[in-house]
């Protein structure tokens, strides 16, 4: 095919509202929302993230078992299948799991768990747990999904200490996914302020700030993060470590955001409405807060969305190396730490599960960010 194809007419229509009357009915943010909704992949990413957060944020409710609960006698159990067909071949509308039977591998004498077809435990919603939990002032003893005692529900198996991997994953996801949000919020504030100052003042201040950011960016991120996390005092408690890690992760991220904001500020300064404001005697503060800041906000949100995956993965890498979140707090990186040994993976392949959750989260953030970028910039993607 010799010639470039003309841009897909359908796609073009997705970026610009057709007809003036329709476009005029939307506010600026309404227009962005309208364009975002038309981006199918972006919407899928957004919905996937909503589901993910809804699953991990109230982990006390959604996880079948409490954090770090050890099921003695159920070490290294492989994932249980959820079944619909009962042993006599009949279809059961209520899904169930079999009980677990301990056996030994005849050759290696390793302990094995096999489904015990004589014990059937139907899955139930809002199953009472052994202890009641408190989350955001709410105290309850139920868990979203579970089986009745003495049955066990290990959707993704257990680890060497008998902890349910699925529950740990949800609790870990809460940390991993909030690290990204908090870290990005930090770099957004820092990057936004520095970028606005740099772009608005210009001159030597701008020069100095830009050189400074260049230095920050020229450090390879993971080695820098590793070096910085060595500075976290060992006596800090989990919450302090959590915030320490987010500060470290945003130590690099803000530079890129500041650059985006600076570029936007520079180009907005020459807009007529900013010039008009200045001629009319508006103060610097007024111009920055009323004209420049709202103009850069949508781009900051997009840049922030695209920066979140890097932070999530940064936390994972640090925790994976044992420098990030420390047990008893769990994160996806902490969980993956168990899976880094090749012999462990050979016997317990289910320990790799956090990788899939991570991939879904990161991919969704990328889709969402791309969708928002196309929505915020009518000229992008063309």
């Amino acid at each position: 095919m010799a010639h470039p194809e003309p841009a897909n007419p359908r796609e073009e229509a997705a970026h610009v509202p057709s007809g003036k009357t329709e476009a005029a009915a939307y506010s600026y943010w309404g227009l962005i929302w309208w364009r975002y909704k038309r981006n199918r992949i972006g919407v899928v990413g957004g919905i996937a993230l909503l589901l993910l957060y809804a699953l991990v944020l109230p982990a006390e409710l959604t996880a079948p078992y409490p954090l770090n609960e050890r099921h003695t006698g159920f070490l290294d159990v492989p994932p249980q299948f959820i079944r619909f067909i009962s042993p006599d071949g009949r279809f059961s509308p209520r899904p169930f799991v079999y009980g677990l039977k301990q056996e030994r591998d005849p050759e290696t004498l390793r302990r094995l768990y096999v489904p015990n077809e004589e014990e059937i435990y139907p899955l139930r919603l809002f199953v009472p747990g052994e202890e009641s939990w408190t989350f955001l002032g709410l105290t309850w003893d139920r868990h979203l999904l579970g089986v009745e005692s003495p049955g066990k529900l290990f959707l993704l198996g257990t680890d060497t200490q008998g902890r349910d991997l699925f529950s740990q994953l949800l609790y870990g996801g809460r940390i991993s996914l909030t690290v990204g949000l908090v870290g990005v919020a930090l770099s957004l504030v820092l990057g936004g302020i520095v970028g606005l100052i740099s772009g608005y003042l210009g001159g030597i201040v701008d020069d100095l700030i830009q050189r400074g950011i260049e230095v920050m960016i020229s450090f390879p991120s993971i080695p820098l993060w590793i070096a910085l996390s060595a500075a976290i005092p060992a006596e800090w408690n989990s919450i302090q470590v959590f915030f320490g890690i987010t500060v470290i992760l945003s130590s690099i991220g803000w530079g890129g955001l500041a650059r985006v904001v600076r570029g936007m500020t520079l180009s907005l300064q020459n807009e007529d409405y900013v010039k008009a404001g200045r001629i009319n005697g508006a103060t610097t503060w007024w111009i920055v807060t009323r004209h420049l800041f709202p103009g850069t906000l949508s781009y900051m949100i997009v840049a922030a969305t695209l920066a979140i995956p890097g932070m999530i993965l940064g936390e994972t890498a640090l925790s994976f190396l044992g420098l990030g979140i420390q047990p008893p707090m769990v994160s996806w990186g902490v969980l993956l730490k168990q899976a880094q040994d090749i012999t462990v993976l050979a016997h317990k392949p289910w320990l790799i599960a956090p990788v899939f959750f991570l991939t879904v989260a990161v991919l969704s953030f990328n889709f969402l960010g791309d969708g928002l970028r196309d929505a915020a910039d009518p000229f992008s993607g063309q």
Partner: protein, 332 residues
């Protein structure tokens, strides 16, 4: 152009200086230093406090730890510039020896990853742009997204997982066959390295390949719509020539400038991949230095890596100016 190169060089030197200061600040950050660790070790060995004190004073004087901070910085910098990285207190070995081979291997892997990702991304990007919206284009887009979402560490884990579960491998990774690990460098060892290089290069280069494909595709699409391409076609040039000589040369621009920017990502990808796969490169050394609180070694590694990146960026800028007559380093 000479002036511009000079200007850029001065800028590079200033950046390098700032990098070294930042590196030094990081060295100073952790609460304890190696000597406090050593002190507790010596106390365990039941040496008299006078003996401990004299040993520590000797070490302090040797490393200038009894001097004010700026003197420590100057001493550290001047030895760094002379290429003398000193003696690792924790690993009890000459840092130069420790570093040089590992640094070279790190750079070799990063460079191989870059070559690998370019060799893959260029043709794929061009093809995707020429066959826009074809099934192959969609396939590469999906693969590209996966590449962005699967950073080196996860990719390495997944490959190990596959190797174990599907191929029943008992080992994976490493850069040399067992018989070459301790051997001196020889042509055979280099060949052996080349044989083992593809896996780390693939892992490190995978995510940057995905990014580069997207850039090349977008650039090619932009360029193919330009009037000069139409002119070239109207002149009756073959499509091959239009693509390679006219379109690709212009479209490559951001790819080349992106190469300089992708270096930090490649190097940090290499460190983490090396840690997962157990490669004898800088990553594990940095981690060991940090665990041993040998901050001087850690700081030196950080500054050397970043220094390499700054120089790499400088070279990328020069290449860009040479490649594209429109740029010629007007204003950064």
């Amino acid at each position: 152009m000479g002036r511009a190169v000079l200007r850029r060089s001065v800028q590079m030197v200033i950046t390098l200086w700032l990098v070294s200061i930042l590196g030094f600040v990081i060295i100073q950050l952790p609460p304890g230093d190696f000597l406090t660790l050593l002190e507790s070790q010596l106390e365990e060995q039941r040496l008299s406090s006078a003996q401990i004190e004299s040993a520590l004073t000797g070490l302090r004087a040797r490393y200038g730890l009894d001097q004010p901070v700026y003197v420590q910085y100057l001493r550290w910098m001047s030895s760094l510039l002379r290429g003398d990285l000193g003696y690792s207190m924790a690993l009890r070995a000459d840092v130069n020896e420790l570093l040089s081979e590992r640094l070279v291997l790190t750079l070799v892997i990063s460079f191989a990853a870059m070559v690998f990702s370019l060799a893959l991304a260029l043709p794929i990007g061009v093809y995707s742009a020429m066959k826009q919206y074809s099934w192959a284009d969609y396939l590469f887009t999906v693969l590209g997204f996966l590449g962005l979402a699967l950073p080196n560490m996860l990719l390495a884990l997944i490959l190990i997982f596959l190797a174990v579960t599907v191929f029943n491998a008992s080992t994976i990774g490493g850069l040399f066959s067992p018989e070459y690990i301790t051997a001196d460098w020889s042509p055979a060892k280099v060949l052996d390295l080349a044989k083992h290089l593809w896996l780390p290069a693939f892992i490190v280069g995978f995510s940057s390949t995905a990014g580069t494909i997207r850039v090349v595709r977008a650039q090619m699409l932009d360029t193919l719509g330009e009037p000069f391409i139409q002119t070239a076609r109207m002149k009756g040039l073959s499509e091959n020539r239009v693509i390679t000589r006219h379109a690709l040369r212009v479209a490559l621009n951001p790819v080349v400038s992106g190469l300089g920017l992708s270096l930090p990502g490649l190097i940090s990808g290499e460190t983490i991949t090396a840690l997962v796969l157990g490669l004898p490169t800088i990553g594990p050394l940095l981690l060991n230095a940090l665990f041993a609180e040998d901050m001087y070694l850690a700081g030196s590694i950080l500054v050397i890596l970043s220094g390499a990146l700054v120089v790499g960026n400088f070279l990328a800028d020069l290449t860009l100016a040479w490649l594209d007559p429109r740029i010629r380093l007007v204003e950064p």
